[in-house]
Amino acid sequence: MSKTNLTRRGVLKSGAVAGAGVALPTIFTASSAAAYTNEPTGASVTLGFNVPQTGPYADEGADELRAYELAVEHLNGGGDGGMLNTFSSKELKGDGILGKKVEFVTGDTQTKSDAARASAKSMIEKDGAVMITGGSSSGVAIAVQGLCQEAGVIFMAGLTHSNDTTGKDKKANGFRHFFNGYMSGAALAPVLKGLYGDDRKAYHLTADYTWGWTQQESIAAATEALGWETVNNVLTPLASTDFSSYIAPVLNSGADVLVLNHYGGNMVNSLTNAVQFGLREAQANGKNFEIVVPLFSRLMARGAGENIKGILGSTNWHWSLQDEGSKAFVKSFGTKYGFPPSQAAHTTYCQTLLYADACQRAGTFNPCGVAEALEGFEFDGLGNGKTLYRAEDHQCFKDVLVVKGKENPTSEFDLLEVVEVTPAAQVTYDPEHPMFAGGQLGSCNPGA
């Protein structure tokens, strides 16, 4: 009894030749011929872009999708080549991957782990995708990463900031380019110290689920190391829309800094509410009251409008960076779509290029070969300076940006200004760091 693991495209074409003209349903062809899941045998290779197209993160998803389409265009030799020209590895020639034309399928994660897995499965089972990428929340990323591990395809994570993605839930087939909660804390802490001093009392509002907790833990650890005191940490329900009852007690709590460990709609609302309650102008303990939003995204910042002015946070990448890679990317994205890319777009574009390059270098689409090529890979020219894909946990280590809401934006895109580029060395941690311990990569799974 031979079996296939979630696959079928692999034999589809070779089998089609064998079975051509045979209409008798007695001919069963088992697909054990494939060396790994969805081995591309034709002239093209299919990638699966799994992004939220409905639900609250649909705008991020749409931007990710734009970047994916741009990356595919560049890989196939179209457009101006974007970051292919600045990428330190020169393996990709604009003729697809390993000479095969790059095709793609898209799906909707709905920002739900179930729907995301269903969508990824359909790409693997029906469309023969050899790699899945995308997502805009950690829950989805971890769920899809687990699926790809079982199915034997590579997962290139999109927007996922939780420590767990490359911590306790890391997987051999999964790779993350985006930064994480720990890195946010490590990057923010020195800047906070420089701007607000080392004698501060912080009040945390934390989204009451896994990502919120790991982020809060990271930021609290980093700021306490500076000498800050954590006055309180209040957990807020995910479903909250009005944060007034959480914000109101802050001013009389003796704290002089408010840390909002929120993302997406939660972040927009809690920040709006905090500004409404006058916290940005308030005084406490003889100092100016400050608000910190550790994970910033420009698209979300737009939702928060005026409220983000002067608020400090960290981000993976920003379009105003002036290195060659970023400039090339902003140019080709901006020319095609008419507005600058978001950090979500940047990270997914990079992930696609990195995957393609790894296949090219490995000379195969076999996940095990690709994984080997990505592990310990050092590169440059993709917008975050010199970057390492660490072998131990499949996390990228690169510079992290500390940003601040701009006081006088010159355009509707010009919302954040880069305060500091924290060098990669400063945000690097030991793979066995307690915040990341507990999981195992396991061994790579090629599926067949």
């Binding site: 079996k3 089609a16 209409a23 349903p25 739900k112 396991g442």
Partner: protein
């Protein structure tokens, strides 16, 4: 046959034939054609069709027969999934104990919620079930994370004990779910000319369970118990004065439908060992309500049709992007091609919700009895035509 009337038996046979031949029926288009986008015959979606079919069949036993509209049934599905995954973590990857535990736990949980909620009727009952389910979801997402793994969902990992199995396979992977060694994800491909048909073990396991569940639901519909439930919907006063106590009947219906939901949850986890909290959210409960109404409340086959329709939209329409549209219309001149793409664009891909919403409105406006009524009208029209042709009407009645 099997204790069923002639009409029911033929309905059952139709369902058996449809599910058994689903890999063919759902893959009508050659794999390389542009229309292959509409093929739904891949294992994951076929499994979802039948699993949600089970969920909806069970829900219909409560809602269709007694008229009690529960907005909290997703909680039972979620609890079933969590139970199954815990069995995979602690005991073994065999799906049988996992599914049995799912059904039992979901049954107990629904007994508790039903016992409280059934003290009220009408919308008050609906809101009570909704409140319980929302509480379950909120707690599973946050406070109960040690039990549910919160946002990420409960997964099997390499260091689970699995006392009757292995924690990790020899090559360092997590073992896969199986039924006494028969792996759920294994599949055969059959290639006939340009077509490819996939036969998945997991699908056939689900399909057999669904047929059994469907058969049981026919028996319940035709039993004195089913008649009592319809009587409760019709007139509770007369019920009381006829010497019958409606409470245990409704509670039994509630628990049975909760166990169906648990069965669906357990199967879902067996096909894909992950249990996420969103499965318990009110939108998920609302989905099964919509499936049942869309298909036809109180009919035998309606809920299965409704479940299939909604899942088809979710998984097929959401994947149609502009690139796909352009390949469809590439035979047209450029201007018309772009125009066609622009017209269809808002309804597919990220607009699949819009299409679904419109379908809901159209179906309920023009087919008050749901899809089943649509089927009946077509059958009636055909029969009329048949009669005109040879004066003979076909013996098969449409699904009630």
């Amino acid at each position: 046959m099997l204790g069923l009337g002639k009409k029911d038996a033929s309905l059952l046979l139709v369902v058996v034939a449809l599910t058994m031949l689903a890999p063919f029926i759902l893959n009508p288009f050659p794999s390389d054609s542009g229309m292959a986008q509409f093929n739904a015959g891949y294992p994951d979606l076929m499994q979802r069709f039948v699993i949600f079919g089970i969920f909806a069949i069970g829900f219909n036993i409560l809602f269709g027969l007694t008229g009690y509209l529960s907005f909290g049934h997703a909680a039972f599905l979620g609890v079933g999934s969590y139970s199954a995954v815990w069995m995979f973590k602690l005991l073994s990857m065999n799906i049988l104990p996992a599914i049995i535990l799912s059904v039992i736990i979901a049954g107990l949980f629904s007994l508790l919620i039903g016992w409280v909620s059934l003290r009220r009727t009408g919308i008050y009952f609906s809101i009570l079930t909704l409140a319980f389910a929302q509480m379950s979801f909120a707690l599973a997402y946050s406070v109960l994370t040690p039990l549910t793994n919160g946002e990420t969902g409960l997964q099997v990992t390499l260091d689970d004990p699995r006392i009757l199995g292995v924690s990790a396979t020899a090559d360092g992977s997590i073992p896969v779910t199986n039924l006494f060694g028969l792996e759920m994800r294994s599949a055969y491909d059959m290639i006939v000319g340009p077509w490819t048909f996939t036969f998945s073990v997991g699908y056939y396991v689900c399909a057999i369970v669904m047929i059994a569940a469907f058969y049981l639901s026919i028996r319940i519909f035709r039993s004195p118990f089913g008649m009592m439930l319809r009587a409760i919907k019709s007139n509770q006063t007369r019920m009381n004065y006829t010497g019958l106590n409606p409470k245990p009947y409704t509670l039994a219906a509630f628990v049975i439908s909760g166990m169906y939901a648990g069965l669906a949850g357990g199967l879902m986890a067996s096909m894909d060992p992950l249990a996420g909290a969103e499965r318990m959210q009110w939108t998920a409960s609302g989905e099964v309500v919509l499936m049942t109404i869309l298909g036809g409340v109180g009919t035998l086959i309606g809920p299965i049709l409704g479940a299939g329709m909604i899942k088809y939209f979710e998984n097929i329409f959401s994947k149609i992007n502009d690139g796909v549209l352009h390949t469809w219309f590439s035979f047209l001149p450029d201007g018309i091609e772009n125009f066609m793409v622009a017209v269809i664009h808002p309804f597919v891909g990220k607009g699949w919700h819009l299409t679904l919403g419109l379908i809901f409105m159209l179906v309920v406006t023009f087919l008050p009895g749901g899809l089943v009524e649509g089927g009946q009208r077509i059958a009636k029209a055909l029969r009329k035509k048949d009669k005109d042709d040879d004066g003979k009407s076909p013996s098969t009645e449409p699904a009630e």
